[in-house]
């Protein structure tokens, strides 16, 4: 094992990448991946400007979320603007807007948004709607309108910070990278070179060999988790409301699952290349797509839901989000932990079994 550790330390390039990359990813994702929408570019289509339309337009101008990119007389001009990506939403006033308002007949307003991105389109409409509603409340009399006012509380993430969503998942990704991927590659490389056979011929037991190879990566993974957590907390203020010990314990289990996966991939494939691809396809991709790390599981089509159950990262993310954001403890999170344990046992058995005959 000491030899393996020295091996890793000597390969400075890979080491740098392994330590820095996860950190860089955490920082990058945290800062850049946001879903909050601001700087909405709005274009007004106002064929007959009057005091009401001007007032409403001023409302938008005064609102920090919106950026007015133009006022045009017809809707025909809007289409090319959308196509070029110069505007996000268009507000089309009907002629005689103010007149209708004064008479009490409905004054019509058409909100056209670029809905290529459905969620953003919806959100933009909501913000625009809110501005209009506040104008209406001011202008209109108290009337007979009934108001049901929802008092909203955003739990676990009051600022709706995206970092809070992504960072727990990122930890899972980082762990997978260091454990499954690196183990698979390093073991298959030894297999290719033939140095593995030398070890097998020695009096060492197969399990001792595996553990010796694999332990340094576990330590590395641990180091990465700690760095990632510190970065998340220090730079983004991602909360940590639960028990650190619990999270670290769960991380260890998850890391071991990754290691077992890596060993299995290495023993099943014949070349380094194949191991690389196998590790990528078998661990990284499902982690990115099916674990709920970036794309919510609830958004996935129904037939994919069962698939997500076999992705270890999915369970780990439930734990990491639960601990970090919700302050949940073992009472609430025992199920994912048990599942992870189960996976670990299964994979370890499979790995040990497949390791021996492969080289016979």
């Amino acid at each position: 094992m000491v030899k393996e550790l020295r091996h890793i330390l000597r390969d400075r390039q890979t080491l740098m990448v392994l330590l820095l990359l996860p950190l860089a990813m955490v920082v990058l994702f945290g800062f850049a991946i946001r879903s909050d929408v601001h700087d909405i570019r709005v274009v007004f289509v106002d064929p007959n400007p009057d005091y009401a339309t001007i007032a409403l337009r001023a409302r938008f101008a005064g609102n920090g979320r919106f950026e007015i990119v133009g006022t045009v007389p017809t809707i025909a001009t809007v289409e090319p603007m959308f196509r070029r990506g110069d505007a996000d939403i268009a507000l089309v006033f009907e002629p005689g807007f103010a007149g209708h308002l004064a008479e009490g007949t409905p004054a019509r307003l058409l909100l056209v948004s670029d809905a290529s991105d459905p969620n953003t389109g919806t959100t933009i409409q909501a913000y625009a709607g809110a501005v209009i509603a506040s104008y209406q409340a001011e202008v209109g009399g108290p009337g007979r309108a009934v108001q049901i006012i929802p008092v909203t509380r955003m739990r676990y993430n009051p600022t709706l910070a995206s970092a809070n969503l992504f960072v727990p998942g990122l930890i899972a990704l980082v762990l997978t990278l260091v454990t499954a991927l690196m183990t698979a590659i390093s073991l298959s490389r030894e297999k290719e070179r033939g140095t593995l056979e030398v070890l097998l011929v020695s009096p060492l037991q197969p399990w001792q060999i595996i553990v010796g190879k694999v332990l340094p990566y576990l330590l590395l993974a641990f180091a990465n988790v700690v760095t990632a957590l510190v970065a998340a907390w220090g730079i983004f203020g991602v909360p940590f409301r639960g028990s650190l010990v619990f999270l670290l314990a769960a991380s260890t289990v998850y890391a071991m699952v990754g290691l077992a996966l890596g060993v299995m991939i290495a023993s099943v494939t014949n070349s380094q290349r194949a191991a690389m691809i196998g590790a990528m396809a078998g661990t990284m991709l499902p982690n990115l797509l099916l674990s709920g790390m970036i794309f919510p599981i609830a958004s996935l089509p129904g037939w994919m839901h069962p698939l997500t159950l076999v992705v270890p990262a999915r369970w780990f993310i439930v734990i990491s989000r639960g601990v970090m954001l919700k302050g949940a403890g073992i009472a609430q999170l025992w199920l994912p932990l048990v599942v992870l344990f189960g996976m670990l046992l299964v994979l370890m058995l499979a790995a040990i079994r497949s390791f021996k005959p492969r080289l016979a």
């Binding site: 890979t14 990448v17 990813m25 990058l28 800062f31 850049a32 991946i33 946001r34 879903s35 909050d36 929408v37 601001h38 959308f82 196509r83 070029r84 004064a102 008479e103 009490g104 007949t105 019509r108 307003l109 058409l110 056209v112 948004s113 809905a115 290529s116 991105d117 459905p118 969620n119 959100t123 409409q125 909501a126 009399g141 009337g143 007979r144 309108a145 009934v146 108001q147 049901i148 006012i149 929802p150 909203t152 509380r153 955003m154 739990r155 993430n157 600022t159 910070a161 995206s162 969503l165 290349r273 691809i277 991709l285 794309f295 919510p296 609830a298 958004s299 994919m304 949940a328 609430q332």
Partner: protein, 383 residues
């Protein structure tokens, strides 16, 4: 350039004899589109609702009915205890808690206003925001309906009763329309981006690995000793992958159009023109990586990381407008971002050549820059 012809022939022979590359070329588009198109979605379909109703009035039940009737909220449980609701949310069993206070109906009839509590699980802040929007809209609609009922003078038939005009009341009627994506389908939004991923993967990854493979095998040195110039060598490496990436893009677009029903409203020729230019940059990055990687494993690792960062910062999965200013500047420098924007404009919005000139120019500038730097780096390393 006779030597180039011979080298090109060798490259194509090698590529078509390599099962991994062939697999990537043909299987990857299929897998990517199938899996990614389905999985890469932020669509907020429905949320599980936990109701804590302290009023038990027709009106409070009406609110719950309205919410569940919209199909955006699914009733998962109800109880008189907020603490139980909280625990359910903690355990991940519910997404939204609705708390209706005791005098809800009375307040509405008497004061024409009442409030209730909406507690949303905001782990996914964006989804929570969208849910909140849905809920607000449903509540507003319900409120105007209730308004009509509460005032018997104004009772009219029909669900969407509008109060008759009365002087002094200002009513703004808002109609909403979403263009380019009538069904609010996430797939249409994602597929153009996925095609970009496809092209990038093939261009950058394969270039890097291909060159490093020669380095590993020792044939790179051999070629360096021959009269073949560096430029010829680079051209011989890049041209086959260029054409194959374009071929794959064509395959991907066919699949997208005919299997996944993604619209192609603009002229596909623009897309291919853009792809040709875009690949300058993508291949350039692959070339650059090959100068710093010693083994194929390293090449793959580094390329993958760079490509990942690019992709995530490019507005592919998350909107650029949501990123902080510095990130937006970085994105401006990213060819991926421009290509994605161009793809979406052409495919979804039917943009023409004139509309995407800015993107094409940026692609050309960035691509040429990257490639020049990469070639220079390659020459330096090899000499």
């Amino acid at each position: 350039m006779r030597a180039l012809r011979f080298l090109l022939r060798k490259e194509f022979l090698q590529i078509f004899r390599d099962r991994m590359i062939l697999g990537m070329l043909f299987v990857m588009p299929l897998v990517q589109l199938l899996v990614l198109a389905n999985a890469a979605t932020f669509e907020v379909k429905s949320a599980r609702l936990y109701v804590v109703d302290h009023d038990h009035s027709p009106m409070s039940r009406g609110v719950v009915d309205r919410l569940t009737a919209s199909r955006r909220f699914i009733l998962s449980d109800a109880s008189p205890s907020v603490a139980l609701a909280d625990d359910a949310m903690l355990r991940g069993k519910t997404d939204v808690i609705l708390v209706i206070p005791r005098d809800f109906e009375r307040d509405i009839v008497r004061d024409r206003r009442a409030s209730l509590q909406l507690i949303l699980n905001a782990e996914d802040g964006a989804a929570a925001g969208v849910m909140q929007t849905y809920a607000s809209r449903i509540l507003i609609d319900y409120a105007s309906e209730v308004g009509a009922e509460v005032n018997p003078m104004l009772a009219t038939a029909g669900a969407r009763a509008e109060p008759p005009p009365r002087r002094g009341d200002a009513i703004i009627e808002v109609r909403r329309r979403g263009w380019y994506n009538a069904e609010l389908n996430y797939r249409d939004y994602m597929v153009p981006g996925i095609l970009v991923v496809l092209v990038t993967m093939i261009g950058t990854l394969l270039t890097a690995m291909n060159i490093v493979r020669e380095k590993e095998a020792g044939t790179l040195d051999q070629l360096n000793v021959t009269p073949v110039s560096r430029t010829t060598f680079i051209a011989a490496k890049l041209i086959p992958l260029w054409s194959l990436a374009l071929a794959d893009l064509a395959l991907g677009m066919l699949l997208a159009r005919f299997v996944f029903d993604v619209p192609v409203r603009g002229n596909p020729a623009i897309v291919f023109l853009a792809a040709t230019i875009y690949l300058l940059g993508a291949l350039g990055i692959g070339l650059w990586v090959s100068t710093i990687a010693e083994t194929q494993q390293q090449a793959m690792f580094v390329t993958f990381s760079i490509v990942m960062v690019y992709l995530l910062m490019s507005g592919l999965f998350t909107p650029i407008r949501a990123m902080p200013t510095w990130a937006r500047w970085v994105a401006e420098a990213s060819p991926v971002m421009h290509f994605v924007r161009l793809m979406r404009a052409v495919l979804l919005k039917g943009a023409g050549f004139v509309d995407v000139t800015h993107q094409l120019v940026m692609l050309a500038v960035i691509g040429t820059l990257v490639l020049t730097l990469a070639v220079r780096q390659y020459r330096k390393r090899a000499a």
